[in-house]
Amino acid sequence: MPAQPLNRICYVEDDEDIQKIVRMSLERIGKMTVEVIGDPLVAIEAIKSFKPELVMLDWMMPGMDGPTLYRRMKEVPEVRDVPVVFITAKASQRELDELRALGAAGTISKPFSPKDLPGQLRAIWQTLP
C-alpha cells in the first residue's frame, strides 16, 4: 500500500463531456488534483511535466488507442513506473488479463458512475505495492 493517499491524477480522454464529468467527479467528490489530456499524441509529455501518482487512459481514442499509449509509456523512463488504470467499454476479459499481465494497475468499465469513480480509483490505489 502506497504511503500517501491518492491525490494527483492524469486522465487521457478525447471526449470533452466525459472529461468534464470525470474532472468534476474527482475534484469535487474525490478532492483530487486532476490534469485532463485531450490528445493522446501529446500525453507522454504532459504526464512527464504533471508528474501524476496515477494515470487513467481511455481505451478508444482517435490517433492512438489506450493500449498503444500504455506501451509507449513503458518505453519512457520518466513515466514507465506510473500506475495506469484503463477505462473501457469493450475489452474482453482476455484483453484485460493481458493488460494486467503487462502491468496495468486496474480497469474500470464504461459506463462508470461518477459518484463511485473516486472510490473505485482509491480501491485500486490500495492494491498497489
Binding site: D15, D17, I18, I21, M24, S25, R28, I29, M60, A89, K90, S92, Q93, K110, P111, F112, S113, P114, K115
Partner: protein
Amino acid sequence: MNSVTAAPTLAAAARVADAGDRADPQRVLADRVEQLYSQMPVGIVLTLVIGGIATYELWDTRTRDLVLFWWGLLLLVTAARAVLYLAYRRSANKLPEAAQWLRWLAISALANGVNWGFAGAVFFPSHTDEQQVFLAFLLTGIASAGIPAYAASWPMFALYSGAIVLPFTYVLANFGNRLFAEIALLVPLFYLANVAIAYRLNHVFYSGYRLRHAYGRLTEDYTALNRRLEQQLVELEEARRQVEASGRKLALFAERAPIAVIELDADGLIQRINQSAENLFGWTSQELTERKASAKVLVRPEYHAEFDERWRQMIASRAPVAHIKIRNPRRDGLEVVCAWTITPLVNAEGNVIAVIAQGQDITRQMEAEKLKKEFTSTLSHELRTPLTSIIGSLQLINAGVLGEVDKEVAELTGVAERNGQRLLDLINDILDIEKIESGKVTLEPEVLSLDEVVSESLVLNRGFAERFQVRLEPRGALLPIKVNVDRKRLLQVMTNLLSNAAKFSPQGEAVEVTMEDLGARVRVGVHDHGPGIPENFRARIFGRFAQADSSVTRQKGGTGLGLAICKRLIELMHGRIGFADRELGGTVFYFDLPKHQTP
C-alpha cells in the same frame, strides 16, 4: 414396376427346355385308345362283309348248323363291338378312363380273334381242298388286317392275331398231312414276325403321340411365355413412362428453382446449369458446356488449388458437402457469395455419375449481417458514450456535487437519471443477447464452489432488494458443491433472478434461496412471495422482451430480456432453467447445473 425382373422369363425358358420329358403319359394313352377305336368302324364293316362271304362259301357243306352258329356268334361279337364303339364315342371320360376303354377293346379284339380262330379250327378239317385254301387265305388276311387296326397296341394285336392263328396252327399240325405240318411250323413264325411288326409300329405310334404332346406343351409354354413377355413389355413401357415423367418433374424443379443448380461430371466439368444460375453468373448453360468449362470458372483463381483438393476429397469420399460459402466471380467481373450444397450422385456400382451443386445467393444476407454487426457496434459505442455523459452529469447533480438543488429540479433530474439508466440497461441487454445468440460469447469456466457464488450474489443484490424493502435470505444449508461455470455470468444470472424476485415481492417479505443436491446435478432455487406467473405468459417467459404486463416495466424497470439472457447463459453452462408455482403462493425460479466431475 415390381414384376419387371428376369426371373419368370428364365423359369419359362427352363420349362420349354424339358417339355419333351413332360408329355403327359395319360394323354398319350388316351390318344392311342382314340386311334384304336377310330379303326373300329372299318373293322366292324370288314368283319360283316368277310364273315358274310365266308358264311356263303361254307353254306353248302354238311355242317350247316355249325356255320349258322358261327355266323350268329360273329354277329353277336360284332354287335357287341359296335355297342362298345358307340359307348366309347359317347363317353365324357375318355381321358381319365383311357385304360378301362383299352381293356374293353382288348376283350373285344380277343373275342373277334377267337371267333375267327373258331372258324379256322372247326371248318378247315372237314372241307374240300378249295374251301381249305379259301379258309387259309381268309384267316391269313384277317390276321394281317389286324396290324393296322391294332398298331397302336401290339399286345392287343398279339391277342387278336394269336386267337386266330394258333388254333388254326394246331389243326394244321394234327391234320396228318406233311405239307400242312410244315405250314403249321411256318404259321407261328409269321405270327411272331407280325407281332414284331406291330411292336415296332406300336413304338412309332407311341413316339408320335409323345412328340405331339410334347410339342403341344411346348406350344402352350411358348404362348404363356409370349403372354408374359408382352405383359412385361407393357409394364416396362409404363415404368419407362413413369421414370420419364419423374425425370421431367425433377428437371422442372431444377430448371425453375430459385437457387442456382449446376450439374457437373466427376471431373468437375459443367454439364448444364439452370435458369437461376444463368441469371446469377451471367453465363448461359450452352456457353459453359461448349467451352467444356470446369466449375473453377466460378472460383477465384487464387483458390483453384484449394478447390481441386476439396473436390478430390469429395469425389473420393462420395460424401455431400453442405453449406459451404464461396465467393463466386461472375462473368462481368463482379462477385457474389453463395452458400453451396454439393452432392455426388453414386450409382449401384459405387461410381460417381454426376455431381449436383445447388447454390443460394447469400450476398445480400451477408451484407445484412455486416450491417447488423456495424449497427451493433454503433449501438455499443456511439450510443453508450453519450449516455455515459448524460447519466454521469445527472448523477453528479443528484449527488449534490454542485450543492443543493431545488426540490422540483431534483425530482426531474432524478427521473432523467433513472430513465437514462434504463436506456443503458436496455442497450446492454440487447448487446448481451445479440452476443450470446451469435455465439460470440465465450465463457470463462472455472471450478467453483457453488455456495460461494450464491452467497456473493446475495451480498451484491442486498442493496437493490432493500429498495423494495425485501430481504434476501438463504433457506437451509448452502451446499459446497463444485461446478464448472463462468463466475461473472453465473452472478449475472443470480442477479437477474434475485432482482426479479425482489421486484415482485410484497414489502417486508423475504426472497429465499435454496440449494438442492439432485445427484449428478445441483439445483439453485429463488423463491418469492409474488403474485405468480399469469397463465398466458408462462409459455413465453424466457422469450425476448417478455414481460407479463408492460406497465410493470414503467413501475419497476427491467428490459424484458433478463430471463432470455439467463436461459441462454445457463444453457451455455450445460444447465437448464425453469420455474414452478409455490404451494403457498409465489413462484420459484430454479436452475440445475451439472456437478463438476473430478477426473
